[in-house]
Symmetry: C2
Subunit: 226 residues, 2 copies
DNA sequence: CTAATAGTGTCTATAAGACAATATTCC
DNA sequence: GGAATATTGTCTTATAGACACTATTAG
């Protein structure tokens, strides 16, 4: 071939743990692979025989490593160069970012996974820390103008829960009155009629879900959701 | 190796022609390559011996095909799959987008290049039309909140010229008073003292340039520049 | 002077944020 | 009733857009 390039896909799988944006790290199992035993992003080779695209590869990785499917997933960015994986030479990783509600991770998770707050990351093998930082930056930017944080919650959620998700991603508190106004403008969620949910000692909150068009595609607003 | 994947980089080179956002297409020269003779995006194989990253490859492509260097360039997105290049099997193209002032293209351009308005694109080989659409969408989104369109102009420009660039990219007219106010907030340009420029029968306009930090990095505003 | 566009100032409409007021639940 | 939080409403401030006004040049 024209070049000797190792093509992989890495996935930054994000979820909320105690209202903190956290990333899933997996302990590398294969003794023949670099960084064996260390905690790193889940990833895998692009397999030209079975993958139709890098998105396919990312979906396969999510299924194989975390038992997850049908969750929010988008391509992030490629990371490349001769030095990023010292054992494999010139590598190209097409990084992806996925969002998942914690309940789904908990059900699927096997022993070798852990969730770490993105603000508490120690050093990681390869350039995985840089990849995570890029993923978090992307999610922050996109969340400010879209329905993205809803994908950190279960299919049905209340508005206060959604606001917590926005605040966790964006790292600051917002005005609840303004938040509701803008959510209404965004027109991305609908009430599940009659369904309410109560936590603790308070009035029960109306349950909402994403409107159908926005379950696979983000709703966006030019002026910011928060 | 683990897979048979052809890795290339394609570049969407954008400029303004008569205030219309236009893309540079090159006639494919090599008779042994697919789509020979057709107009397509400039691209090239990643060369693991000489490129330090895909950004390097993109810079090399810009230099080799268009004689350009030192212009605004960022990674866009990867396009991949077994079908996108029928002759080469599973290919992965890491698309990049570059902005350049028309004067620079004109100086560098060789015979086999043409500039086509992104609104007047005929069919193109491979998935190049899809790549261009993604590039234009990215540039639109980013322009609304940053100093990006300044990179479509020469180093020194007037505010009315800059407004034209924003309007060309975003496809709509804006209020000049509001535009100036927000430009001031963005705090990305500085007057070149004493320098004025006059076009036609009118008052001469003050000449500005990007402040140093924003020549290599975009200035951003959370609330939109236009 | 007029034509033409640069650049500024001001008024109005819209959007955001602060915060008070009300509603609903369990105890 | 009281605690706690959901939800709505209102007032104030900030921002955006419309538009008029002034400034500067060539002829």
């Amino acid at each position: 071939m024209h070049n000797q390039i190792t093509c992989v896909v890495d996935v930054v799988l994000l979820t909320l743990v105690d209202s903190k944006l956290s990333v899933a790290l997996f302990q590398r199992q294969n003794p023949n692979e670099p960084a064996h035993g260390q905690w790193a992003l889940p990833g895998g080779f692009i397999r030209d025989k079975i993958d139709e695209s890098v998105l396919d590869t990312a979906q396969r990785v999510l299924m194989e490593k975390a038992g997850l499917e049908g969750i929010y997933l988008e391509q992030l960015q490629s990371f490349s160069g001769p030095e990023r994986d010292p054992d494999r030479g010139w590598t190209l990783s097409v990084a992806h970012v996925a969002l998942v509600p914690l309940e789904q991770v908990s059900k699927a998770s096997r022993g070798e996974m852990k969730l770490v707050s993105v603000n508490a990351l120690r050093s990681l093998p390869f350039d995985h820390k840089e990849i995570i930082n890029a993923a978090v930056a992307r999610v922050r930017t996109k969340s400010a103008y879209s329905s993205l944080p809803a994908h950190l919650l279960a299919d049905e959620f209340t508005i206060p829960e959604l606001q917590v998700a926005y605040e966790a991603v964006l790292g600051q508190a917002y005005n609840s009155s303004s938040f509701r106004r803008k959510l209404k403008d965004l027109d991305a969620i609908e009430a599940v009629s009659g369904q309410k949910k109560q936590v603790g000692l308070s009035a029960p909150a109306q349950i909402y879900r994403l409107k159908k068009p926005f379950r696979n595609q983000l709703a966006t607003r030019s002026r910011g959701v928060v």
